[in-house]
Symmetry: C2
Subunit: 609 residues, 2 copies
Amino acid sequence: MEAITFEKTNITGGFWKQKQDMIRNTTIYSVYNRFSETGRFEAFKFNWKEGMPNKPHIFWDSDVAKWIESVANLTLKKREPDLEKIADGVIDLIVEKQDKNGYFNSYFQHIDPASRFRNRDWHELYCAGHLMEAAVAYYKATGKDKFLKAMCRYADYIERRFKIDCDTAFRTPGHEEIELALVKLYECTGEKRYYELAEYFINERGKTEQDTYNQSDLPVREITEANGHAVRATYLYCAMADIARINGDSELADACRRVFNDIYFKKMYITGGIGSTSAGEAFTIDYDLPNLLAYTETCASFGLAVFAHRMLLIENDRKYAETIEREIYNGFLSGVSLDGDSFFYENPLEVIPRLRNRDKYNGGIHFPLSRRQKVFGCSCCPPNVTRFIPSIADLIYTKSDAENTIFVQQYMQSESEFDLRGKSVRLQQTTNYPYDGKLNIKYYGENAKIAVRIPEWCEKYCETAQNGYAYYDVTDGSEITLDFGMPVYLVESNPKLEANCGKYAVMRGPIVYCMEGVDNGNSLRDIITDASSFTEKADEELGVISLQTTGKRRKPFESGSLYQKAKYEFEDIPVKFIPYYAFANRDECEMLVWFNAKLKLRNRLKAIN
Amino acid sequence: MEAITFEKTNITGGFWKQKQDMIRNTTIYSVYNRFSETGRFEAFKFNWKEGMPNKPHIFWDSDVAKWIESVANLTLKKREPDLEKIADGVIDLIVEKQDKNGYFNSYFQHIDPASRFRNRDWHELYCAGHLMEAAVAYYKATGKDKFLKAMCRYADYIERRFKIDCDTAFRTPGHEEIELALVKLYECTGEKRYYELAEYFINERGKTEQDTYNQSDLPVREITEANGHAVRATYLYCAMADIARINGDSELADACRRVFNDIYFKKMYITGGIGSTSAGEAFTIDYDLPNLLAYTETCASFGLAVFAHRMLLIENDRKYAETIEREIYNGFLSGVSLDGDSFFYENPLEVIPRLRNRDKYNGGIHFPLSRRQKVFGCSCCPPNVTRFIPSIADLIYTKSDAENTIFVQQYMQSESEFDLRGKSVRLQQTTNYPYDGKLNIKYYGENAKIAVRIPEWCEKYCETAQNGYAYYDVTDGSEITLDFGMPVYLVESNPKLEANCGKYAVMRGPIVYCMEGVDNGNSLRDIITDASSFTEKADEELGVISLQTTGKRRKPFESGSLYQKAKYEFEDIPVKFIPYYAFANRDECEMLVWFNAKLKLRNRLKAIN
C-alpha cells in the first residue's frame, strides 16, 4: 500500500475547500499574530534578556516550525508571498544562529546552553523533529533547500551525539516526534542514515529509560496498550508504523496493531478524542471516558488520525479510515472555531460552565475550558490545525500497484493525478459530502480497480462490499456513482463504558451532534429527548445542518428543595442539535453529546435510517 | 427550647439498641485495638524516640480523647470496668504530664515543644477541645473529676494566652472544635469564663486571620454560605448556635439559619453527606454533588447532625429534625460496617471500584475508598461513631417549658424521665421504627402537650399537623398512637443538580436505598429499573429489608466495539436494592444510589405510596 500525498490532489470545492480557505485567509494569520505578540518569532533573534517580557520557552521552536510547515502546505497549492517572506526570515535566522556543529535550538543556545542534551523532558529533540518536518515541507513547497540542508546538518549532529558518541544525558526523546520527522527527512533526501537514526531511537526506547508517561516503560515491540501522554503516544506510534512499513518489521507492525486496537476498542471517545485525563494529558484505563472531564487534546486527535493513516499503508482495514473520518469531522475539527480564529486545546464531550468554579477555593479537579482561546501558553494545537487542514487531501486515496487498485478512503470534492503501476492516472471526485452522501468518481487511465470505502453507518452496499470496500473495475473514462445516504441515527456505547450507560448520541453520517445551552436552555442533562425522529434544518448562523426534535424537561422545584418525592412534572420543549465540531461558537453555555432519550424506539428508529 | 440529653433516656430496644450494643460489644474495642497498635495510647507516656515506630502525630490527642468520651457515654448507661481502667490510666498520664501552667498536648510537649501555639493549622486547640469534651463526659458518667479539673486548668491557661496576654502566634483555632467544647465545659462547671472564651474565639474569627478553608474569611455574623472544610465548618456552626441560644444573639442565630439553609437547599446529598470535594475536604458551589467523587466524610455527617440538633434548640423547625434523621439512617451510619469493626472516612453515593485505577500512572482525581478500613492514619471518624451512637438518645426529645410542650423529634424505642416546668415526667416510646412506621407513646406526668414530628414523606397526618408536628394534649397515663406507614417511594433531585438529572433514588421511609454489584452484577448504571413497584423482602445476611423489582440491562456488544448504532437489546433481570447504610458489607463491588428508571410511572407510583 502506498500513500497518495496531497501534492497529487487538489481539493476543488465543498466542505474541505471551505476549511482550507479559512486556514489560508484567517487561521494562518491568527496563529502568526498570536505567536508574534508572544515573542515566539522574536526568540529566533537570540536577543531576549532577563527582565524583558516573553521569555523564550523550551518548546517555542516547535510552534514556529509547525507554523512554517503550515505555510509550506499552503504554498504547495498557491504561493503566499507575505507568508513566505516571514518564513524565509525565520529560516535565515535559524541558519545564521545554527552552531557550526549543526545544533539549533533557540532556547538551549541562547537561554540555557549548559542544559543542552541534559534533560530528557525538555522537548529538545521534539523541537528538532518539528524543525525537520518543516524543512522537508518547505523544500517540497518552494524548492528552496536552505532550511532542509540546515536540518540535515542538525540531524547529522544528533546522529553523532546520540548514536555514535552516545555522550548525551539521555538516550531517547522524552517527547517523541523526531522519529517520524527523521523518516520524512529520509524519504525526502534519500539519506538512509536518517531512517536508521529513527529506527535507532525506536529500538532503544524502553530499554534503559523507564517512564510510562512517555511510553518508555517497555521496548516498543512489547507494547500492548496505549499508555501515558496521548500526543507523545500517537507520535511514537506513527514512527513505529512508518518503520514497520519501510522495513517490513512484522513484530513492530503487530505492536502497532495492538495499540491501535486498544485505542479503537477501549480508549476513544465517539468524537475520536483520546487521552481522557488531564493528569499527564494521558490515556487511562479501559472504557474510562468521562465526558465532562475529557482531556481529548486537539493534537492527540491529529496524532491518532495520522497514525491511522500510516496503519492504512500497512494494511487496508476500514477501521483505520473510519477513525480518520471520526477525527476530521469531530474531535479534531472542534479544535478550531468556525471563523478559524480561536482554538480548543481540550475538546470535552460535555460542558457545564458553572462547574468550572467548583473548586474555586481549593484547586482540585481540572475542568476543560468552555471557550476557545486565541492563544495558549502551550500552543501546540493551533499550528497542528494550520498544518493538517491544508494537507487533508493526504487522506483521500491510497493505492496498491501490486493489486492495481486505488482505494478511496475519504470523500472530498477533488482532482488527483498520480501514478499507478508507473502510468499516470487521474481521478475526479464530485461530492457534497458530508452534507449529503452522493459520490461520483471519474477515472482516467489504464484498466484498474477502484475500491471505495463504504461508511460503517451505511447499510446500502454491505452485501456487495468486501471488508467494507466496494470494488469496481475501471477503464479510461469510467464513472462510479454511489449514494451512501446521510442517515440520522442514534448511537449507544459499550455497556462497559459507564459514563454513557443509559444515554444516547445522535449522528448524521460521520458527524457527531450535540446539544447546546444557547439553543436548549441549561440543565441539558435534564432534557429527555424524543429521539424517534429528527428534522434536518439549515442553521444559517453556524452554516451547518441542525437536527430538530422535541423533548421534555422537568419543571423547576416549587419548594426550592434539593430532593422531593418524584412528581414527574415535565414541560414539552423543542430540542435542537448541532454538529459537535460547531459547539462553543456562540455564547458560553452548556454542551452535551450523550443525552437522555425516550426508550422503546426500535420500530420508529428503523424508519429514520 | 431545651435539650433532653441522653442521660435522661434509655434506648430499650429496636434499631438503635442493636447499634448501641454493637458499639459496646465490638466497636469500642476495635477502635481501642487499632489506636493501641498504632501507638496512640503509648504516646501519652512521652517516651517515643527518633527511630521508633509510631511517631506521635499532632492530632492523636483528639483521637484518644474521643475514645475516652465514647467510654464515658457507654459508662453513663452501664459501667465497663475494663474500659474505665484504660481511660483512668490515660487520664493519670495526662494529669502527670500536664505542664504546671495547665498546658497539655502530647505532641507539642514531647515532640515539638518549640512550636507550641505557633502554627494555626496544627490542630492544637482542636485537640484541647476534644480533651475538654471527653473530660466533661467522663465526669458526668463516672463522677470522677480529676480529668475535668485538669482540663479546667488547661482552659484557664488557654484563656490567659489567647484572650488576656494575646502572645500566641495565632488568634483563633485553625480547626474549630474548642469553641463548642468550652460551652460544654461552661455548662458542666457553671464557670462563665469558659463560655466567654468560646464567645471570644467566635467573635475574633474572620477578623484578622483570612482563610476560607477554615471559615475565617468573614466575621461569623456575616457568613451567608457554607464554605471550606466541611467538618471544621459544622463544628464552628455548632458553637455559633450554642452561643446564639445561650445569649440570645439574634444576629448570630441568623447567620446559623443562613448557613444551615445553604447546606439544606444547595449542598447536601440525599444521604445527608456534605463536603463534595476531596480538595480541602470541602463544600464547593451550589448543587455540585457528584456521586462518584463525593467526599462526604463521616465526621461531617456527624457534625451536621449535631449542628441541626443545636438549631432545634433555637427554633423548632422540622427541617432540622429531618436532617438529623437523614444523617443517622444514611450518610453517618454508612460510616461503620454492620459488624461494627471497620469504617468509612468518605461515604460516596456511587462506587465503581475499577475506576479507582484510572490514574494509576499519573495521580489525578481522588476516588473514595470502596472498602471500609480497620484504621486510618487520620482516624477522626471511627471515634465519632463510638461517641455518637451511645448518645444518640440526645436527639429524641426537645422541650419547651414556656409552651409546656415536649417535642418528639426522633422515633426510637426508649424510656425517658426528665423535668417539664420543674415537675418530673416520664415517656415510653414503643416503636419498631424504621422497620415499620408504628409509634406508641405513653406519657406519665402533669397535663402537657406532646408535639410529634410527622416525617416529610408521610402524607397521613399533614392536614392536622402544624408546621409538620402533630400536637396532642396529654394527661397522666395518656397514650398516643400513630402509624406513619413505611412507604417505598421514588425521589428526584432538583433539576439544578446536574449529577442526578434523569435519575431517581428509592427510599423507604427515612432510609435511602442503593444497588450493589454483588446483588445486581456490575455496570449498575446500565440497569433500567422498573420502579413501578417494589417487593419488600428480609435480607437475612445483612439483617435489613431489601427492595426487589425487575429491570432491563443491555446485552454485551457482540462486536466488542465502543460504539454501535443503537440496537436496544436488553435482557430482563431482577433488581435488588439494600439500605445505603448497609453497602460495602460483602465483596467489593459497584454501588449506585441514583439510578435509571422507566418513566411515565405517575399512575402506578401513586399506588405504592
